[in-house]
């Protein structure tokens, strides 16, 4: 049995590079040799024990690579093809998928829905911070990379772009909208880019790190607000002349940003939530107009599947959005523990790291 290197969750506080068998390929699977991958904020939650996964699991859900081997029932692909797969890998055939809700894929469950069930890599099955990753339901998930795009250019597609853009999409951003994005980490930065891509004409970013605020401006923020310089809701109301925003995107996962997002809305506005929360949330009565404000709160888990990936790579190819500034550091897989150390501590202005076996 051949072995490969993989970043494995050992216990709270420890993700280590170790050896594992290269997985067997079932009829619907594809084995991908990873050429580039990255670390996500969620992986840090796993590292810190804040999000529970099984000990021994390979971490990582953002694969860029080459098809090494195809399952016997997989058609339409060739070994050697460069591909990506989304962080979320819907089966395509569950009731949830056929209901347009593939991120809650419950293939194999009684009713075909499972909360967050589409998120498999580095969560319920081995992930892609490794030399190889097995992609289930390959025909629904492998998306060939256009020849002229580099690994780096598509590295944000599997999760960061898909999640960030969905903040704007689920929020229903329309031409002429005013949009605020709370927290300008990689997801929030992509939410800024997504809001611009959909026609928002006033985009306000909220953070406190100068480097992130600067990237936000490059990606489309018309204004950036430092939440340490004063109550962000007041600053937003000042910027919008008291009107409030049409859509507020929450990209952090805290009570404070959730509340501020709701308070920033104009009557009838939409809070589009992307953050991963770690405790119950409070909806303030006033911002919610006692339930009579025609407000919406929508949540979205990173849309996956090969059509989504194809569209995001089209965005990269078109030059409409340039996410190169997001990849700030580069490591070999052999040095992934060092990469975790840097990324988990948000040192050295890190936004995203590229990891290459």
């Amino acid at each position: 049995m051949q072995k490969m290197k993989a970043a494995i969750f050992v216990e709270k506080g420890r993700i280590v590079l170790d050896e594992k068998p290269i997985p067997d390929v079932g009829p619907l699977d594809a084995l991908i040799r990873i050429t580039t991958t990255t670390i996500c904020g969620t992986d840090v939650h796993i590292l810190k024990g804040e999000y529970p996964v099984e000990k021994g699991l390979t971490i990582g859900h953002e694969p860029v690579g080459i098809i090494e081997k195809l399952g016997s029932a997989v058609e339409g692909y060739a070994e050697g093809q460069r591909v990506i797969a989304g962080a979320i890998t819907p089966s395509g055939h569950s009731y949830a998928c056929l209901c347009g809700c593939g991120s809650q894929d419950g293939a194999g469950t009684k009713h075909g829905f499972k909360a967050m069930g589409g998120w498999k890599f580095g969560n319920t099955i081995d992930g892609c911070q490794a030399e190889y990753v097995l992609v289930k339901d390959a025909m629904a998930n492998l998306s060939p990379i256009p020849d002229h795009l580099t690994d780096d250019q598509v590295l944000m597609c599997p999760d960061i772009m898909s999640t960030g853009f969905s903040g704007a999409e689920s929020g229903g951003v329309r031409i002429g909208d005013t949009v605020v994005v709370f927290a300008l980490g990689p997801i929030g930065l992509c939410a800024v880019a997504g809001a611009k891509l959909m026609g928002a004409t006033t985009i306000i970013g909220v953070d406190t790190l100068a480097s992130r605020m600067e990237v936000a401006r490059k990606l489309g923020a018309d204004h950036v607000i430092d939440f340490k310089a004063g109550d962000p809701v007041e600053q937003i109301m000042a910027l919008t002349d008291g009107r409030g925003v049409d859509v507020a995107i929450e990209a952090l996962g805290t009570q404070a940003t959730f509340r501020s997002a709701l308070q920033s809305l104009r009557p009838g506005g939409t809070l589009s939530s992307l953050g991963v929360y770690s405790s119950d949330l409070t909806i303030p009565l006033g911002a919610f107009s006692a339930g009579l404000g025609d407000n919406k709160i929508v949540t979205t888990l990173c849309p996956g599947g090969k059509e989504r990936m194809r569209r995001l790579m089209e965005v990269c190819a078109s030059g409409r959005v340039d996410l190169k500034p997001l990849v700030t550091h580069r490591f070999r897989l052999d040095d992934i523990e060092e990469a975790y150390e840097l990324f988990a501590n948000q040192r050295d202005g890190v936004l995203k790291v590229a990891i290459q076996p």
Copy 2:
């Protein structure tokens, strides 16, 4: 100056019938002689001082009547015509209205949005528990009653039907959906009827009063659950074989029903909230899948305007929904204080009362 009788908010705990001048008619207004009106749960909140309005205000927002006098700039109507107007009376010309958000009408404000601004009758201007009511922006709001419909048949249109149905509409109910409605007061009962009207095939009502549960069955509930007979979420999960519902409609305005509604959803489901809350709300982390469940929470304030009223009267005329069982008691305007006493204390199986000057 001619006088009329009107039910006036005097102070917390006191709504009394007294005399007031019949209002003057501005160029865009219409004066309606009330022939039938009713009392809403919201009026009881006002009575109890739980929802603040100015002392001296005439209460009531569900008018059925006859055009007594038209403003000089009003075209397309005739004095003597039987009409209704919605509880919410959008101006038609504010930015909010032109944005499809008339219930948050902010005509006259700087940006044209005002939270709950479309609700004027018995809230920010004199209402219709009186012999006459003045309707602003008459051309956007007066909806002629088809000849063959009685006052009683259309009495639920201005608020109860419009609000209840909107619970299903905003929830995006589709053919084949499973829907639960929390609380089977008049609004919840209309939400049941609305869910059926939109094609839900399994409708579950939650309450504890046998009389309401019986009406719910008549209006389309396939199952009714007594929340006193066990945890309603468990009962819903049992009825749906563990799947959960596609849409949960909250029609009461309490933390308990809000939480249960959220917990009843299948992954990716929608909580459609109609209730008027009186304190901050808590979103339980688990039911919200930490923000990753693709859930939506949508709130709706009773849609108004004459087109909405026309459509609801079409529903009445078509016989698709029979709301006659909702009018359980009948009073003369002279006896409205007695009607409040009955209604506020939910005595004698009261659902809605008809009040006639």
Copy 3:
């Protein structure tokens, strides 16, 4: 190699019952033993040579049956289970499917879209007027029949209900709409039922056969018009007092009904087209307001997949719609040629026939 009986297209004018090998089961397939099926108007087009298929093909796309054998990679089903599959069998994993457009499934094609590609049974692969049928992509398509539903109760789900209902769904029927349905064959009758199920309050059916008009009334038509008794557009305008309809559903596939449907619309209305046309269509300039009328023309090919089938069976189980009147005749598979003879000539008031091996 075991043999089975099957209704085979031999040449224009001849569909005959003959023997064929029982198909082999690939890893993603399921072999279904047919217990009930039916003949569709499209099959008659094939019989008449108006719609081309390969000689030797087994006809039929409305299967009700029992799982005989499951492919090696199929999970979540058991042999012996009663199931249906839709007339359209999307793969679940093509770009089209993942784009929400499964009826145009192009699995295996370069870009993943193929016009009408989701329609496979009796079109591009062997169909189900046979003792057995092979279902490709079984996990996306097999929908278990609830125990308490008979074959007859679910026989309309695979095509007639799905297509007919989609006329109302794609038309965006809303509560209070006025809808006209042109042609009251099985599809049109289901369009009537679908429009009612979605809240249309005035439904007008157009046909000339008294028996069909009577069934239309049972399924929800408020008015029925005999197009031989006068210009149908004039009759519709008379019934709507000159307003026109919000949604016109074309369920036949002729220039005359297409034109009348367009002419029946109110400004801004939608023509929802279900018919299969056999020649170019003409859009009359006036009814189209020279392109400035905010009109929509939408077409829909029968939605398929197991979630769609599940929802339609929910409708059957709920009793919301009773399609029993549609099955007017019953034949053994051995007598299918006789059934074609009756059905193709629309004799004896036939609407749909049940065929049982």
Copy 4:
């Protein structure tokens, strides 16, 4: 009675500058002193007698100006304010408006819908190629110009931007879409800009004039096709590698472009039509997949109302789209006949002309 200069339709072939009384101001009206306006392709149709209007009518529907006088019932504006109004001026209070269909505004008609009824200026009432124009329903239509925007910057908002953008909006353009725009006149150019603004990543423009093709590239076209250099459908299929486009926008109003647009679509694609047609249209059977291709044909009349105008001016203010290249020539109102002569004959590379009294 004071007089003003106005461009008046005298008879087929003759629009002349003449004197007319300055109109009286009714209670809901506003009198606007025009500071800049322009000529539309539709005005040329009127000039040529291809679109009938009453003799003596003032032409023009794209007003930029200053409030001269407000009606007695108009609130929320001040005389002296700089404003625009849309080419389409919905009343805000008709059934059509309250149904979200203001371009088909039928205020004053029995059912409140009138085909193209929202287009009043230079069609059913006097237009704005004059020193003054009367705006009906002023509160629904006057949109204040932000101080920092010049007349030129907002001159395209009333019609060209609103119509062009709506081609993309009604087409439902999504992130990653491929879009083709047929004909790169001012409307088509704005459709290109609108498609880009909504996230299309491959935009193909079709025309033959090099100057227009160049502007199209500036506004977002990734490819431009010369329809004289070969069948445009074949060129589009070559550019999309045989896939076809998600959305095809028709911006001319001819059978040839309509047909090509339909033929360019991928299965399930949408034809969004903006052109004004002058004869019946033919839908080719093949491109329509015999009615089974899940295709949509949607038409849109320039959305109006002050909220629409506000949003479009936000686009101008944001710098997201720069339409300055569209204004190629400039005339005084006194020379408007000369402007018509240039514009009607498409001389000197004219795209749009600015007319200033």
